[in-house]
Homo-oligomer: 189 residues x 2
Amino acid sequence: MSELLKNQFKKIIEITDDEYDYILSHFITKKFKKHQFLVQEDQVVVYDYFVLSGCIKSYYTDENDKMHILLFGTQDWWISDYEAYYFKKKARVNIDCLEETEVLCLSLENREKLCKEFHRIEHFFRKKTNRRNVALQNRILTLLSSSAKERYEKFIQDYPSLVQKLPKHILASYLGVTRETLSRLYSTK
Amino acid sequence: MSELLKNQFKKIIEITDDEYDYILSHFITKKFKKHQFLVQEDQVVVYDYFVLSGCIKSYYTDENDKMHILLFGTQDWWISDYEAYYFKKKARVNIDCLEETEVLCLSLENREKLCKEFHRIEHFFRKKTNRRNVALQNRILTLLSSSAKERYEKFIQDYPSLVQKLPKHILASYLGVTRETLSRLYSTK
DNA sequence: TAAATAACTTGATCTATCTCACATTTTATT
DNA sequence: AATAAAATGTGAGATAGATCAAGTTATTTA
């Protein structure tokens, strides 16, 4: 079945087909329709999600109902509210679908079980988390040091395929500008 | 010797004194004076640093020579340019000392060796990185959704002891505002 | 396929924050 | 202790980006 996750493992660790089957048995598959929620604010976060297909967004809504996007999830990405997931808190963010989306769901208990049973799986997740770290750090750098226009152009470079499918006001909210400003950025070349 | 690191391990994993001695033998100790560099832009990053005492900053310098602070390191914190460290690239940031600082240095080779030899150490680093991830995510959230004043007040709440020892223009650059603006934020209560 | 809803654009105005300039205070250095 | 070098404060003016408002174009949904 899903070769996507297996391939992601294989980029970092060695894994037999039998092992993979066993590991996969710790995940459950879910399908969500457009606009459906995977995670809702103030609720418990049971899973980390590995995206098989589709596209989802994780966002925080402030006092003025303004949405701030933390992360997109497309094929091959992991996404969750990690603070809530790891530390069993209530979610601060919402995660919902920009289009029909299929995910593999891993509970914290199963994640820790697998990490305990397979040193290699723990290794895999450590490496993954390291990379996420680097990406987050770089986003902070960009937010601190670049103008709205520069951030927009960097996004196009980094995620050309995402730019296609994202509504502009969603992209704006990821970049930290209003939709009006974003609209002006690419008209006023 | 250094109980600091041992205690940090013990918060997450079990470890005997003998094991700790062995692990510690993979670190080297270094002392730096104020203004000395631990990491310099465009150079190789050999170590991840665990701060025993003192205070350091990690910052990026943009085309206009404006400094943007990514991270402070004080007692009990790990700090490095992780993109350069993990992926053996040249550093994008500088890391230097705000005061005399003593650190434990861990090379990537020794880190990976320890992770291979002790499943528990790999577990420790995974957990640590998870927490760092959450902190970085929250900083992004703050940068996206809060005003300069709100960010300043949050910093005071989160790191009261750091506010004391940091020069204001350094704090400003962490918060993503100019020193002039920061100065006005706390005069115009 | 019409009606309703969501997405996008553009103009006019407003505002938080930046820039530049200079004065004052604090901290290093000889 | 004297001098140089950083750090800080404050005013005046500039500006990137926000807000508010209205109109247009897509995309859903019934």
